[in-house]
Amino acid sequence: MLNYIWTFLVLVSLVVAIGYDLYDEVFDTYRNGKEFSVTISLTDQSSSGRFRGIAHVTAEYYNAHYGKNVLAHNMDIPIQCTVDSVGNGTFQLFLPEQAPQPWLTMAKYSPVKGSLLGVISRVRFVGTHREAHAVLCFEPTHFVKMRSVTQAAIDFVVTAVEIALGLIGVMALWLGLMKIAEVAGLLTFIAKILKPLTRKLFPDIPSDHPAIAAILMNTAANMLGLSNAATPLGLKAMEELNKLNPQQGIATNAMITFLAINTGGLVLIPATAIAVRAAAGSSNPGIIIGTSIIGALCATIAGVTASKVLQRFSRYNNEITNNEKEK
Protein backbone atom coordinates (compact mmCIF):
# COMPACT_ATOMS: atom_id res chain seq x y z
CA MET A 1 0.00 0.00 0.00
CA LEU A 2 2.78 2.38 0.92
CA ASN A 3 4.43 1.46 -2.38
CA TYR A 4 1.40 2.66 -4.32
CA ILE A 5 0.97 5.86 -2.32
CA TRP A 6 4.65 6.68 -2.59
CA THR A 7 4.73 6.10 -6.34
CA PHE A 8 1.49 8.03 -6.69
CA LEU A 9 2.87 11.07 -4.84
CA VAL A 10 6.09 11.14 -6.87
CA LEU A 11 4.51 10.57 -10.28
CA VAL A 12 1.55 12.90 -9.74
CA SER A 13 3.94 15.63 -8.62
CA LEU A 14 6.01 15.30 -11.78
CA VAL A 15 3.01 15.12 -14.10
CA VAL A 16 1.35 18.13 -12.48
CA ALA A 17 4.59 20.11 -12.56
CA ILE A 18 5.02 19.40 -16.27
CA GLY A 19 1.39 20.38 -16.80
CA TYR A 20 1.83 23.72 -15.07
CA ASP A 21 5.03 24.42 -17.02
CA LEU A 22 3.42 23.54 -20.34
CA TYR A 23 0.54 25.86 -19.46
CA ASP A 24 3.03 28.64 -18.74
CA GLU A 25 4.77 28.04 -22.07
CA VAL A 26 1.57 27.87 -24.10
CA PHE A 27 -0.01 30.95 -22.55
CA ASP A 28 3.33 32.73 -22.22
CA THR A 29 2.70 33.58 -18.57
CA TYR A 30 6.09 35.25 -18.20
CA ARG A 31 6.02 37.12 -21.53
CA ASN A 32 9.52 35.86 -22.28
CA GLY A 33 11.33 38.09 -24.78
CA LYS A 34 8.58 40.73 -24.78
CA GLU A 35 9.53 44.36 -24.25
CA PHE A 36 8.39 46.25 -21.16
CA SER A 37 8.66 50.06 -21.24
CA VAL A 38 9.37 52.05 -18.10
CA THR A 39 10.11 55.57 -17.00
CA ILE A 40 13.04 55.87 -14.60
CA SER A 41 13.70 58.75 -12.20
CA LEU A 42 17.45 58.91 -11.81
CA THR A 43 18.85 59.16 -8.31
CA ASP A 44 22.52 58.56 -8.94
CA GLN A 45 24.49 58.71 -12.17
CA SER A 46 28.18 58.08 -12.73
CA SER A 47 30.17 58.90 -15.85
CA SER A 48 30.78 55.29 -16.84
CA GLY A 49 27.20 54.82 -18.00
CA ARG A 50 26.13 53.20 -14.77
CA PHE A 51 23.13 54.74 -13.07
CA ARG A 52 20.61 54.02 -10.33
CA GLY A 53 17.03 55.13 -10.21
CA ILE A 54 13.42 54.39 -9.42
CA ALA A 55 11.42 52.64 -12.13
CA HIS A 56 7.80 53.76 -12.26
CA VAL A 57 5.48 50.91 -13.20
CA THR A 58 1.87 51.87 -13.83
CA ALA A 59 -0.80 49.37 -12.86
CA GLU A 60 -2.63 49.85 -16.14
CA TYR A 61 0.42 49.02 -18.27
CA TYR A 62 1.49 46.10 -16.07
CA ASN A 63 -1.95 44.47 -16.11
CA ALA A 64 -2.24 44.95 -19.87
CA HIS A 65 1.24 43.53 -20.44
CA TYR A 66 0.61 40.35 -18.45
CA GLY A 67 -3.07 40.10 -19.36
CA LYS A 68 -4.11 39.77 -15.73
CA ASN A 69 -5.56 42.14 -13.18
CA VAL A 70 -2.87 41.71 -10.55
CA LEU A 71 -1.54 45.17 -9.81
CA ALA A 72 -3.92 47.56 -8.06
CA HIS A 73 -1.66 50.58 -7.60
CA ASN A 74 1.27 52.04 -9.48
CA MET A 75 4.58 50.74 -8.24
CA ASP A 76 8.01 52.32 -7.74
CA ILE A 77 10.91 49.86 -7.83
CA PRO A 78 14.64 50.54 -7.41
CA ILE A 79 16.66 49.78 -10.54
CA GLN A 80 20.33 49.76 -11.42
CA CYS A 81 21.56 49.93 -15.03
CA THR A 82 24.78 49.87 -16.98
CA VAL A 83 24.35 51.45 -20.40
CA ASP A 84 26.73 52.13 -23.30
CA SER A 85 26.84 55.35 -25.35
CA VAL A 86 24.10 54.18 -27.76
CA GLY A 87 21.72 53.51 -24.87
CA ASN A 88 21.85 49.69 -24.64
CA GLY A 89 22.97 47.67 -21.63
CA THR A 90 21.88 45.53 -18.70
CA PHE A 91 19.69 46.20 -15.71
CA GLN A 92 18.81 44.80 -12.31
CA LEU A 93 15.38 45.45 -10.82
CA PHE A 94 15.27 45.08 -7.02
CA LEU A 95 11.79 43.71 -6.36
CA PRO A 96 10.10 44.45 -3.04
CA GLU A 97 8.61 41.51 -1.14
CA GLN A 98 5.03 42.45 -1.99
CA ALA A 99 5.68 42.58 -5.73
CA PRO A 100 2.88 41.25 -7.95
CA GLN A 101 2.84 37.99 -9.88
CA PRO A 102 4.35 36.91 -12.19
CA TRP A 103 7.30 39.09 -11.24
CA LEU A 104 7.55 37.49 -7.81
CA THR A 105 7.90 34.03 -9.34
CA MET A 106 10.31 35.31 -11.98
CA ALA A 107 12.49 36.87 -9.27
CA LYS A 108 12.42 33.64 -7.26
CA TYR A 109 13.98 31.73 -10.15
CA SER A 110 16.21 34.54 -11.36
CA PRO A 111 20.02 34.08 -11.24
CA VAL A 112 20.08 36.78 -8.56
CA LYS A 113 17.30 35.79 -6.18
CA GLY A 114 14.83 38.59 -5.44
CA SER A 115 15.91 40.67 -8.45
CA LEU A 116 14.87 40.69 -12.08
CA LEU A 117 17.76 40.80 -14.55
CA GLY A 118 17.72 41.52 -18.24
CA VAL A 119 18.67 43.74 -21.14
CA ILE A 120 17.80 47.44 -21.23
CA SER A 121 17.68 49.26 -24.55
CA ARG A 122 16.64 52.52 -26.20
CA VAL A 123 17.48 54.58 -23.13
CA ARG A 124 16.48 58.21 -23.76
CA PHE A 125 17.32 60.79 -21.15
CA VAL A 126 14.82 63.61 -20.86
CA GLY A 127 14.94 66.94 -19.11
CA THR A 128 18.20 67.66 -17.38
CA HIS A 129 19.04 63.99 -17.16
CA ARG A 130 16.79 63.54 -14.14
CA GLU A 131 14.52 61.13 -15.98
CA ALA A 132 14.88 58.42 -18.62
CA HIS A 133 12.58 56.39 -20.83
CA ALA A 134 13.74 52.85 -21.61
CA VAL A 135 12.63 49.41 -22.74
CA LEU A 136 13.30 46.39 -20.54
CA CYS A 137 13.59 42.80 -21.74
CA PHE A 138 13.67 40.31 -18.85
CA GLU A 139 15.76 37.16 -18.71
CA PRO A 140 13.46 34.37 -19.91
CA THR A 141 11.78 32.26 -17.21
CA HIS A 142 11.12 28.60 -18.00
CA PHE A 143 10.12 25.39 -16.14
CA VAL A 144 9.33 27.08 -12.86
CA LYS A 145 7.37 24.15 -11.38
CA MET A 146 9.89 21.53 -12.42
CA ARG A 147 12.63 23.52 -10.73
CA SER A 148 10.63 24.05 -7.57
CA VAL A 149 9.73 20.34 -7.39
CA THR A 150 13.37 19.34 -7.79
CA GLN A 151 14.42 21.89 -5.21
CA ALA A 152 11.72 20.69 -2.78
CA ALA A 153 12.87 17.08 -3.18
CA ILE A 154 16.40 18.07 -2.21
CA ASP A 155 15.33 20.38 0.62
CA PHE A 156 13.07 17.77 2.17
CA VAL A 157 15.70 15.07 1.99
CA VAL A 158 18.03 17.34 3.96
CA THR A 159 15.22 18.06 6.44
CA ALA A 160 14.63 14.32 6.88
CA VAL A 161 18.21 13.74 7.94
CA GLU A 162 18.11 16.76 10.24
CA ILE A 163 14.96 15.45 11.91
CA ALA A 164 16.46 12.00 12.38
CA LEU A 165 19.76 13.28 13.73
CA GLY A 166 17.92 15.74 15.97
CA LEU A 167 16.27 12.75 17.59
CA ILE A 168 19.55 11.22 18.80
CA GLY A 169 19.73 13.18 22.05
CA VAL A 170 16.18 12.67 23.26
CA MET A 171 16.22 9.09 21.98
CA ALA A 172 19.31 8.35 24.07
CA LEU A 173 17.81 10.04 27.14
CA TRP A 174 14.53 8.15 27.03
CA LEU A 175 16.04 4.82 26.05
CA GLY A 176 18.39 5.18 28.99
CA LEU A 177 15.57 5.97 31.40
CA MET A 178 13.43 3.17 29.99
CA LYS A 179 16.30 0.74 30.44
CA ILE A 180 16.53 1.73 34.11
CA ALA A 181 12.79 1.18 34.51
CA GLU A 182 13.01 -2.12 32.69
CA VAL A 183 15.86 -3.49 34.78
CA ALA A 184 14.15 -2.30 37.94
CA GLY A 185 11.03 -4.23 36.94
CA LEU A 186 8.91 -1.10 36.75
CA LEU A 187 7.76 -1.70 33.18
CA THR A 188 6.53 -5.19 34.04
CA PHE A 189 4.76 -3.72 37.05
CA ILE A 190 2.96 -1.08 34.94
CA ALA A 191 2.03 -3.71 32.35
CA LYS A 192 0.47 -5.93 35.03
CA ILE A 193 -1.63 -3.07 36.42
CA LEU A 194 -2.97 -2.29 32.94
CA LYS A 195 -3.69 -5.91 32.10
CA PRO A 196 -7.50 -5.59 32.05
CA LEU A 197 -7.31 -2.64 29.65
CA THR A 198 -4.65 -3.91 27.29
CA ARG A 199 -5.71 -7.55 27.03
CA LYS A 200 -8.51 -6.54 24.65
CA LEU A 201 -6.46 -4.06 22.62
CA PHE A 202 -3.31 -6.14 22.33
CA PRO A 203 -4.23 -9.80 22.75
CA ASP A 204 -0.93 -10.89 21.14
CA ILE A 205 1.29 -9.27 23.75
CA PRO A 206 2.01 -11.19 26.98
CA SER A 207 0.40 -9.28 29.82
CA ASP A 208 3.63 -8.47 31.65
CA HIS A 209 5.67 -7.46 28.59
CA PRO A 210 7.56 -4.12 28.72
CA ALA A 211 5.98 -3.15 25.36
CA ILE A 212 2.72 -2.42 27.19
CA ALA A 213 4.41 0.06 29.52
CA ALA A 214 6.16 1.79 26.60
CA ILE A 215 2.86 2.04 24.71
CA LEU A 216 1.16 3.51 27.76
CA MET A 217 3.92 6.06 28.33
CA ASN A 218 3.94 7.03 24.64
CA THR A 219 0.18 7.57 24.69
CA ALA A 220 0.39 9.57 27.91
CA ALA A 221 3.20 11.75 26.52
CA ASN A 222 1.20 12.34 23.34
CA MET A 223 -1.90 13.30 25.29
CA LEU A 224 0.07 15.79 27.36
CA GLY A 225 1.61 17.20 24.19
CA LEU A 226 5.17 16.21 25.16
CA SER A 227 6.33 15.42 21.65
CA ASN A 228 10.00 15.32 22.70
CA ALA A 229 9.26 12.39 24.96
CA ALA A 230 6.51 10.82 22.88
CA THR A 231 8.58 9.88 19.83
CA PRO A 232 11.41 8.13 21.74
CA LEU A 233 8.89 6.27 23.89
CA GLY A 234 6.91 5.30 20.81
CA LEU A 235 10.02 3.99 19.11
CA LYS A 236 10.88 2.07 22.25
CA ALA A 237 7.41 0.56 22.14
CA MET A 238 7.92 -0.42 18.50
CA GLU A 239 11.22 -2.09 19.38
CA GLU A 240 9.59 -4.03 22.18
CA LEU A 241 6.75 -5.04 19.85
CA ASN A 242 9.29 -6.09 17.25
CA LYS A 243 10.86 -8.50 19.76
CA LEU A 244 7.55 -10.40 19.63
CA ASN A 245 7.46 -10.26 15.83
CA PRO A 246 7.85 -13.75 14.30
CA GLN A 247 8.60 -12.32 10.82
CA GLN A 248 11.06 -9.47 10.93
CA GLY A 249 10.33 -6.75 8.40
CA ILE A 250 6.56 -7.33 8.41
CA ALA A 251 4.21 -5.34 10.63
CA THR A 252 2.33 -7.25 13.33
CA ASN A 253 -1.30 -6.72 14.33
CA ALA A 254 -0.23 -5.21 17.63
CA MET A 255 2.02 -2.69 15.88
CA ILE A 256 -0.78 -1.53 13.63
CA THR A 257 -3.23 -1.18 16.52
CA PHE A 258 -0.59 0.80 18.39
CA LEU A 259 -0.05 3.09 15.40
CA ALA A 260 -3.82 3.55 15.06
CA ILE A 261 -3.91 4.84 18.64
CA ASN A 262 -0.84 6.96 18.02
CA THR A 263 -1.93 8.57 14.74
CA GLY A 264 -5.37 9.20 16.17
CA GLY A 265 -3.63 12.19 17.70
CA LEU A 266 -5.43 12.30 21.03
CA VAL A 267 -4.18 15.44 22.80
CA LEU A 268 -5.66 16.99 25.92
CA ILE A 269 -4.50 20.48 24.92
CA PRO A 270 -3.73 21.07 21.24
CA ALA A 271 -1.05 23.63 22.07
CA THR A 272 0.13 24.47 18.53
CA ALA A 273 -3.35 25.14 17.18
CA ILE A 274 -4.18 27.28 20.22
CA ALA A 275 -0.96 29.27 19.84
CA VAL A 276 -1.67 29.98 16.17
CA ARG A 277 -5.21 31.06 17.02
CA ALA A 278 -3.95 33.36 19.76
CA ALA A 279 -1.36 34.86 17.42
CA ALA A 280 -4.09 35.52 14.84
CA GLY A 281 -5.98 37.55 17.44
CA SER A 282 -8.70 35.10 18.46
CA SER A 283 -10.99 36.22 21.26
CA ASN A 284 -11.11 32.65 22.57
CA PRO A 285 -8.16 30.58 21.34
CA GLY A 286 -8.94 27.64 23.64
CA ILE A 287 -12.43 27.11 22.22
CA ILE A 288 -11.14 24.26 20.08
CA ILE A 289 -9.97 22.08 22.98
CA GLY A 290 -13.27 20.26 23.31
CA THR A 291 -13.88 19.89 19.59
CA SER A 292 -10.32 18.67 19.01
CA ILE A 293 -10.67 15.98 21.65
CA ILE A 294 -13.89 14.78 20.06
CA GLY A 295 -12.31 14.79 16.59
CA ALA A 296 -9.31 12.83 17.87
CA LEU A 297 -11.56 10.37 19.70
CA CYS A 298 -13.41 9.70 16.43
CA ALA A 299 -10.09 9.10 14.68
CA THR A 300 -8.73 6.84 17.43
CA ILE A 301 -11.87 4.73 17.76
CA ALA A 302 -12.19 4.41 13.99
CA GLY A 303 -8.49 3.53 13.66
CA VAL A 304 -8.51 0.87 16.35
CA THR A 305 -11.74 -0.62 14.99
CA ALA A 306 -10.35 -0.62 11.46
CA SER A 307 -7.14 -2.30 12.62
CA LYS A 308 -9.15 -5.02 14.37
CA VAL A 309 -11.46 -5.55 11.40
CA LEU A 310 -8.86 -5.41 8.64
CA GLN A 311 -6.51 -7.85 10.36
CA ARG A 312 -9.16 -10.56 9.93
CA PHE A 313 -9.19 -10.33 6.17
CA SER A 314 -6.94 -12.91 4.62
CA ARG A 315 -5.85 -10.51 1.89
CA TYR A 316 -3.88 -8.63 4.48
CA ASN A 317 -2.45 -11.80 5.93
CA ASN A 318 -1.21 -13.07 2.57
CA GLU A 319 2.12 -11.41 2.97
CA ILE A 320 2.80 -13.31 6.17
CA THR A 321 1.84 -16.71 4.76
CA ASN A 322 3.87 -16.09 1.61
CA ASN A 323 6.82 -15.19 3.74
CA GLU A 324 6.45 -18.37 5.72
CA LYS A 325 6.42 -20.38 2.54
CA GLU A 326 9.64 -18.77 1.45
CA LYS A 327 11.22 -19.79 4.71
Binding site: S13, V16, T159, A260, C298, A302, Y316
Partner: protein
Protein backbone atom coordinates in the same frame (compact mmCIF):
# COMPACT_ATOMS: atom_id res chain seq x y z
CA UNK B 1 -14.54 25.19 35.43
CA UNK B 2 -12.97 25.11 32.00
CA UNK B 3 -10.07 27.17 33.27
CA UNK B 4 -9.49 24.84 36.22
CA UNK B 5 -9.36 21.80 33.94
CA UNK B 6 -7.10 23.56 31.48
CA UNK B 7 -4.74 24.77 34.17
CA UNK B 8 -4.47 21.38 35.81
CA UNK B 9 -3.69 19.75 32.46
CA UNK B 10 -1.02 22.38 31.80
CA UNK B 11 0.52 21.79 35.23
CA UNK B 12 0.39 18.03 34.66
CA UNK B 13 2.22 18.33 31.36
CA UNK B 14 4.92 20.47 32.97
CA UNK B 15 5.58 18.14 35.91
CA UNK B 16 5.10 14.88 34.00
CA UNK B 17 8.66 14.48 32.76
CA UNK B 18 10.48 15.42 36.02
CA UNK B 19 8.04 13.18 37.88
CA UNK B 20 8.68 10.20 35.59
CA UNK B 21 12.44 10.67 35.81
CA UNK B 22 12.32 10.87 39.62
CA UNK B 23 10.00 7.86 39.86
CA UNK B 24 12.19 5.72 37.60
CA UNK B 25 15.40 6.53 39.41
CA UNK B 26 13.98 6.21 42.92
CA UNK B 27 12.32 2.91 42.06
CA UNK B 28 15.59 1.66 40.59
CA UNK B 29 17.48 2.73 43.70
CA UNK B 30 15.05 0.79 45.89
CA UNK B 31 15.60 -2.24 43.66
CA UNK B 32 19.38 -1.69 43.93
CA UNK B 33 19.91 -1.20 40.20
CA UNK B 34 23.19 0.40 39.08
CA UNK B 35 21.35 3.34 37.56
CA UNK B 36 24.23 5.06 35.80
CA UNK B 37 25.56 1.95 34.12
CA UNK B 38 22.12 0.80 33.06
CA UNK B 39 21.22 4.25 31.74
CA UNK B 40 24.31 4.35 29.54
CA UNK B 41 23.62 0.81 28.37
CA UNK B 42 20.13 1.84 27.22
CA UNK B 43 21.15 5.22 25.82
CA UNK B 44 23.63 3.55 23.46
CA UNK B 45 20.67 2.48 21.36
CA UNK B 46 19.66 6.11 20.79
CA UNK B 47 22.10 6.72 18.00
CA UNK B 48 21.44 3.53 16.06
CA UNK B 49 17.68 3.99 16.30
CA UNK B 50 17.86 7.57 15.01
CA UNK B 51 20.17 6.58 12.17
CA UNK B 52 18.02 3.58 11.27
CA UNK B 53 15.08 5.92 10.63
CA UNK B 54 16.96 8.04 8.07
CA UNK B 55 16.29 6.06 4.87
CA UNK B 56 12.58 5.70 5.69
CA UNK B 57 12.20 9.35 6.55
CA UNK B 58 14.15 10.44 3.47
CA UNK B 59 11.93 8.32 1.21
CA UNK B 60 8.74 9.65 2.78
CA UNK B 61 9.66 13.33 2.94
CA UNK B 62 11.12 13.25 -0.57
CA UNK B 63 7.75 12.23 -2.03
CA UNK B 64 5.77 14.56 0.21
CA UNK B 65 8.06 17.51 -0.54
CA UNK B 66 7.64 17.04 -4.28
CA UNK B 67 3.90 16.73 -3.89
CA UNK B 68 3.72 19.96 -1.92
CA UNK B 69 5.82 21.91 -4.38
CA UNK B 70 4.08 20.63 -7.51
CA UNK B 71 0.80 22.39 -6.79
CA UNK B 72 -1.05 19.08 -7.25
CA UNK B 73 -3.02 19.96 -4.12
CA UNK B 74 -4.95 22.68 -6.01
CA UNK B 75 -6.06 20.15 -8.59
CA UNK B 76 -7.20 17.70 -5.91
CA UNK B 77 -9.17 20.45 -4.21
CA UNK B 78 -10.81 21.31 -7.53
CA UNK B 79 -11.77 17.68 -8.21
CA UNK B 80 -12.93 16.86 -4.68
CA UNK B 81 -14.74 20.06 -3.73
CA UNK B 82 -18.09 19.12 -5.36
CA UNK B 83 -18.05 15.94 -3.24
CA UNK B 84 -17.22 17.70 0.00
CA UNK B 85 -19.80 20.41 -0.72
CA UNK B 86 -22.40 17.65 -0.55
CA UNK B 87 -21.54 16.94 3.09
CA UNK B 88 -21.35 20.63 3.86
CA UNK B 89 -17.59 20.97 4.23
CA UNK B 90 -16.34 24.41 3.18
CA UNK B 91 -13.95 24.21 0.23
CA UNK B 92 -11.40 26.26 2.16
CA UNK B 93 -11.00 23.43 4.68
CA UNK B 94 -10.28 20.80 2.02
CA UNK B 95 -6.54 21.51 1.62
CA UNK B 96 -6.19 20.98 5.37
CA UNK B 97 -7.94 17.61 5.20
CA UNK B 98 -5.65 16.48 2.40
CA UNK B 99 -2.40 17.92 3.76
CA UNK B 100 -2.72 17.12 7.47
CA UNK B 101 -1.76 13.43 7.22
CA UNK B 102 1.15 14.24 4.89
CA UNK B 103 2.98 17.22 6.30
CA UNK B 104 2.87 18.92 9.68
CA UNK B 105 4.61 22.09 8.56
CA UNK B 106 2.47 22.49 5.43
CA UNK B 107 -0.76 22.07 7.37
CA UNK B 108 0.48 24.50 10.02
CA UNK B 109 1.08 27.03 7.22
CA UNK B 110 -2.38 26.36 5.80
CA UNK B 111 -3.95 26.90 9.22
CA UNK B 112 -2.16 30.23 9.76
CA UNK B 113 -3.15 31.39 6.29
CA UNK B 114 -6.82 30.56 6.80
CA UNK B 115 -6.75 32.36 10.17
CA UNK B 116 -5.41 35.41 8.40
CA UNK B 117 -7.96 35.48 5.60
CA UNK B 118 -11.09 34.29 7.44
CA UNK B 119 -10.29 35.22 11.04
CA UNK B 120 -9.62 32.71 13.85
CA UNK B 121 -13.14 32.95 15.28
CA UNK B 122 -14.96 32.40 11.98
CA UNK B 123 -16.56 29.00 11.41
CA UNK B 124 -13.81 28.05 8.97
CA UNK B 125 -11.13 29.22 11.39
CA UNK B 126 -12.52 27.12 14.23
CA UNK B 127 -13.06 24.13 11.95
CA UNK B 128 -9.56 24.18 10.49
CA UNK B 129 -7.85 24.59 13.86
CA UNK B 130 -9.96 21.76 15.26
CA UNK B 131 -8.89 19.59 12.33
CA UNK B 132 -5.27 20.49 12.94
CA UNK B 133 -5.52 19.94 16.69
CA UNK B 134 -7.29 16.63 16.47
CA UNK B 135 -4.96 14.68 14.22
CA UNK B 136 -1.39 13.61 13.64
CA UNK B 137 0.91 13.60 10.63
CA UNK B 138 0.02 9.99 9.86
CA UNK B 139 2.54 9.32 7.10
CA UNK B 140 5.40 10.82 9.05
CA UNK B 141 4.53 8.65 12.06
CA UNK B 142 4.29 5.56 9.83
CA UNK B 143 7.70 6.26 8.29
CA UNK B 144 9.43 6.95 11.60
CA UNK B 145 7.85 4.20 13.69
CA UNK B 146 8.14 1.44 11.11
CA UNK B 147 11.55 2.71 10.10
CA UNK B 148 12.86 2.34 13.64
CA UNK B 149 12.29 -1.42 13.49
CA UNK B 150 13.09 -1.85 9.78
CA UNK B 151 9.57 -2.77 8.77
CA UNK B 152 8.91 -2.48 5.06
CA UNK B 153 5.75 -4.53 4.73
CA UNK B 154 3.20 -2.38 6.50
CA UNK B 155 0.17 -4.64 5.75
CA UNK B 156 -3.05 -2.80 6.65
CA UNK B 157 -1.36 0.06 8.51
CA UNK B 158 -1.89 2.60 5.71
CA UNK B 159 -5.62 1.87 5.18
CA UNK B 160 -6.09 1.97 8.97
CA UNK B 161 -4.33 5.33 9.14
CA UNK B 162 -6.40 6.77 6.29
CA UNK B 163 -9.67 5.50 7.78
CA UNK B 164 -8.73 7.06 11.12
CA UNK B 165 -7.86 10.38 9.44
CA UNK B 166 -11.08 10.52 7.43
CA UNK B 167 -13.18 9.71 10.49
CA UNK B 168 -11.30 12.25 12.59
CA UNK B 169 -11.85 14.99 10.01
CA UNK B 170 -15.52 14.10 9.64
CA UNK B 171 -15.88 14.06 13.42
CA UNK B 172 -14.28 17.51 13.62
CA UNK B 173 -16.59 18.81 10.90
CA UNK B 174 -19.74 17.44 12.55
CA UNK B 175 -18.91 18.64 16.07
CA UNK B 176 -17.98 22.11 14.78
CA UNK B 177 -21.23 22.30 12.82
CA UNK B 178 -23.25 21.26 15.84
CA UNK B 179 -21.55 23.68 18.22
CA UNK B 180 -20.63 26.67 16.08
CA UNK B 181 -22.38 26.42 12.74
CA UNK B 182 -25.75 25.98 11.22
CA UNK B 183 -26.59 22.32 10.75
Amino acid sequence: MDVVVKNSITILSIIAIPLVIALFILWALVKRVHVYEVFVEGAKEGFTTAVRIIPYLVAMLFAIGMFRASGAMDIFVMVLSPLTNLIGMPAEALPMVLMRPLSGSASLGLMSEIMKTHGPDSFIGVLVSTMYGSSETTFYVLAVYFGAVNIRKTRHAVPVGIIADVCGMLGALIICKVLFGIL
